[in-house]
Every structure is written in C-alpha cells, then in structure tokens.
C-alpha cells in the first residue's frame, strides 16, 4: 500500500499553528520586524559541515539556502534595525530521527546587543513557547562550554592537546578518529558524553571553543583562554539553537571563508565560492549585533513529546 498520509497528527498541526502565532506576537510586542528573505540564491555558505541542495535557474547554478543569515545580515547592513525571519531552510543529506533536509528555522538579530542579552531573550521565548499550565516551569541553566565539558570529562577543552582529544574521541566513539580535526573531536566528545549528561529544561552553553567560532567574535574567558562568543541552546538535552555575538570585521570574515574553502577541498566536499554580495555588505558595515537561529521543529518535538521529527512535520522527507 502506498503511504500517503501525513506524519503529524491534527494535534501537532494545531500546536504548530499556535506556536507560529505566539512567536510572531512575541516579536511584534518587542518591535522586531519580520522579514521574508529568499530561499533560492546564486551563492551559499562555505561551512565545512553543511552541504547545500543545488538547483538550477535558467542554466545557472542555484542553491537552496541553509539559513537566512546572509540575506538578513545584508538587510542589517542596509539599516533594517532589529529583524526576524521564520521560514524554511534546507541542508543536504541530513535525515534522521531529529533531522529533515527541509526544516523550519527561526532566526533573529538584535542591534547593539551582546550575546548574553540575546541569550536571555532566547530563554524568555523558549520558556513561553513550551509553557504548560499543568507543569512547573522548565528549569533554566546557563553555563560555559568549559564548565559543562569539564564537569563531565575532567579536563579543559580549550587547552587539551590535539592528540589527547583524538585519543579520547576514539575511545568514546569506539573507532579510529586519529585523522580528525580539533573541532570534530570536540563535537564527538560533546555529543556522546557531555550532551547526555545535561540537566533537563532549557540549557544555554556559551563561550564555545575558538576552533568552532563560525561567524562569532573571539574573546578571552576568565581562565584567559581564547573562546568564541558563540552559544548553543539545548532543550531537555537536544540542541535547538545556535547564536553569536556577530563577527563584523570583513577581513577576519574573508579569512574564515577561505579557511573553510581550503578545509572543504581537503576532505573533497563539494566546492563553493564565497558570497560576494554578502562580503560587500560587510565591507559597507554590519552594525554591532547579536543573532541566533532556533529549530522550530525541535521545539515542537519537545512540546509534543515526539520521538521523531516525522511526528511534527506534515510530510517529512520519506513521505515526500
């Protein structure tokens, strides 16, 4: 028999509709402007670990956007002020219990804010969305990457030698991970050991390792280690979002793009070119800001206690 029915129940459909209304109301009350940016573009991200889905427009290559980040930053550079976008994003080959190649991303930027101010707003929004009058409010924990890593693993992730990280990654992931980068080894240890030990509720982890800075600024922590001003948000142990005190220096940004491109070539991932319109907007000037992206489907999974993303999507990829 052909499986034609949706994965989401009627309850899940209603829950999503209510959540979308709540978050639009949340931002309207705070005077953050909703923007609608393209999903289809001529360029895409250089991220080492994110592959875009390609399309063609006329005879030219095109890419489904993996997040609205570059278009939103171009709006910020053009003087939009505080903005948010809620819409689809696409990432190739991400299929699993908590992944679908097409998913709903909520992303917003606050001009003049730092990462800690934005973390508070994220906590306020998530607490509102998951609020259940029949249960006590979800506990909120805020801690550094150093703290949550050290609590479980017993050593400083920022100072550990690469060979030590590779040895430990190979133990926790039972395999040979001796050819892996510092960032990959840290991710393995974090995903397999640190995440499962996280407290329930909303957990915000900040001051990520410098090697995982992506588009965040770098600064020094209380141990005098160089860390990135990047944070991640977890809900009952599942990653739901990622934010930055945004990098505004175009030269540093171009250097990181080139590093990414070299990294992609080394591991034979599809080559991409730098989005020149985005770089031009940085050269013009991105205002000081903090930004964050949250996975809406993951939040719905938490509210509905769903075991798979299929239960909160009308038609997940296997049903499409």
């Amino acid at each position: 028999m052909i499986e034609w029915k949706p994965g989401a129940s009627l309850e899940a459909l209603r829950c999503r509709a209510k959540l979308m209304a709540q978050l639009r109301d949340f931002f309207a009350c705070r005077a953050v402007l909703e923007v609608d940016v393209p999903l289809l573009a001529k360029s895409t991200v250089t991220d080492l670990n994110i592959d875009s889905i390609t399309a063609s427009v006329g005879l030219a290559d095109a890419f489904l956007q993996t997040s609205p980040e570059y278009f939103m930053k171009r709006l910020l550079a053009a003087g939009s002020g505080d903005i948010y976008s809620v819409g689809k994003a696409f990432r190739d080959a991400e299929i699993g219990r908590k992944h679908n190649p097409e998913f709903t991303l909520l992303e917003w930027y606050r001009c003049g804010w730092d990462d800690h101010q934005l973390m508070q707003e994220v906590v306020d929004l998530v607490a509102l969305l998951i609020d259940d009058p029949h249960r006590s409010p979800a506990p909120v924990t805020k801690l550094t990457y150093y703290e949550c890593f050290t609590n479980v693993m017993g050593f400083n992730p920022h100072r550990a030698e690469l060979h030590q990280l590779r040895t430990i990654a190979s133990q926790v992931a039972s395999g040979d991970w001796f050819d892996q980068s510092r960032a990959n080894c840290l991710d393995l240890i974090f995903s397999l050991r640190v995440e499962p030990a996280m407290p329930a509720g909303i957990v915000v982890v900040y001051d990520y390792p410098q090697c995982q800075a992506a588009l965040a600024q770098i600064s020094k922590d209380h141990n005098d280690d160089r860390v990135s001003r990047r944070f991640e948000v977890f809900l009952d142990g599942a990653e739901i979002g990622n934010g930055y005190l945004e990098l505004t220096d175009p030269n540093e940004q171009i250097a990181r793009f080139n590093e990414d491109i070299d990294g992609r070539n080394e591991v034979n991932r599809p080559s991409v070119h730098v989005d020149e319109k985005f770089v031009a907007s940085l050269i013009h000037g991105l205002p000081a800001c903090a930004g964050v992206a949250l996975g809406v489907d993951r939040i719905l999974m938490n509210i509905l206690k769903a075991q798979t993303i299929d239960q909160v999507l009308t038609f997940a990829w296997p049903r499409c």
Binding site: R97, H99, L192
Partner: protein, 188 residues
C-alpha cells in the same frame, strides 16, 4: 558483496565489521548544527552474539555480509556435526557444535529451526520458540499436589534441565519456551 553507506544502514542489514558478520540493530544519525555528521550504530556480532556500539562518519561504508536466515529441518547428529535440511530443495547443511550453541539442548529430530548461513555454512541456529519434550529424569511426583509455588528440576529428553511443578513425573511431556527456558505446561 555490495557496499552499504551509513545512509543505507537499517535494522536487519548484515554487514562485515573487523572480519566478522554483524547484523545492524539500530542506526542513529547525529549532527551538531555546525559540526560533522556521524552515525551511532548498534550491531550484533553474529559469531559471538555480542552487541557492540560503533560510531561512523556519515557516508562511511561497510561491505555487506553474505548472511541469510533460512528455515531448516533438524535431521540428526553424528556426534561431530548436526545436520539440517532445507525443506524446499532437500539440500543438507552440517553445523558445528559451536554454531548450534545453546540450541543444542532443545533440538529434537524434525524440529524446524532458523539457521543463519554465512558464506553458505551454518553460523548459528535458533530453535523453535516452543518445544514439547519428555521428562526423562526427575524426583517422583507427589500425586494430587497441584498447588502453586513448588517446583523441582527435571531433565528432558534432549538434555535440557527445566524447573517443573512438583506433580509431574518421568514420562510426562512438557511444553517449554526455548527463549527463556521456562516451563509452559503439561502436554499429556
């Protein structure tokens, strides 16, 4: 055999890992938002029956294992090997004591078992879930004692020892669940 990538890994797929055939039990895709994708995979080593957990980079491949499960009738043993027959083709296979393993204590001639073949030879044998066997040795039965609670060991025709109620005697036939080794009831 074909190669399978982590995207193809699903429960029941048979693959080669470190030279041994394994059956995939679970496959979970894990990817930190900005990090590298990997798969946490639970497998059963079909030679040792041990369950192990391995992490693979997404896109890594493993060679398929030439393993298949087949219903076969148990024929007899000559003491060195145990002989099974495919009911459709009448083709016979000889299994070592190692392959027969724990199934040994339950096997009666003509039982239909699931035999796992690896490269064409029996790797393991799963007996029928329920078997009916005669008690060949037990303490004398206490007539009329059908009260709940009491039990005693009884040796069955195939050599297995199971706990049975006190009222049963030598010569009685009992039904046993081979997965748990538990007495299910008296047959006659």
């Amino acid at each position: 055999m074909a190669n399978y990538s982590t995207n193809d890994f699903r429960s029941g797929l048979k693959v080669m890992l470190d030279g041994d055939p394994c059956s995939i039990l679970e496959n979970e895709f894990v990817k930190p938002g900005k990090g590298q994708a990997f798969n946490r995979v639970k497998l059963r080593n079909l030679k040792t029956a041990r369950v192990l957990e391995k992490t693979f980079k997404s896109g890594d491949t493993l060679e398929g294992a030439d393993v298949m499960d087949q219903d076969m009738q148990y024929l007899y043993t000559d003491g060195d090997f145990w002989y099974f027959m495919e009911p459709d083709t009448f083709e016979q296979h000889q299994a070592t004591e190692n392959a027969v393993g724990d199934a040994l204590q339950w096997l009666s001639e003509q039982d239909v078992c699931v035999v796992t073949l690896y490269n064409g030879s029996p790797l393991s044998v799963v007996p029928p879930n329920h078997v009916e066997l005669e008690i060949i040795e037990t303490d004398p039965g206490l007539r009329g004692d059908t009260a709940q609670g009491g039990s005693k060991p009884a040796k069955l025709a195939t050599g297995a020892v199971v706990k049975v109620p006190l009222f049963l005697d030598q010569g009685d036939v009992v039904k046993v669940d081979t997965r748990t080794g538990e007495y299910q009831g008296r047959v006659k």
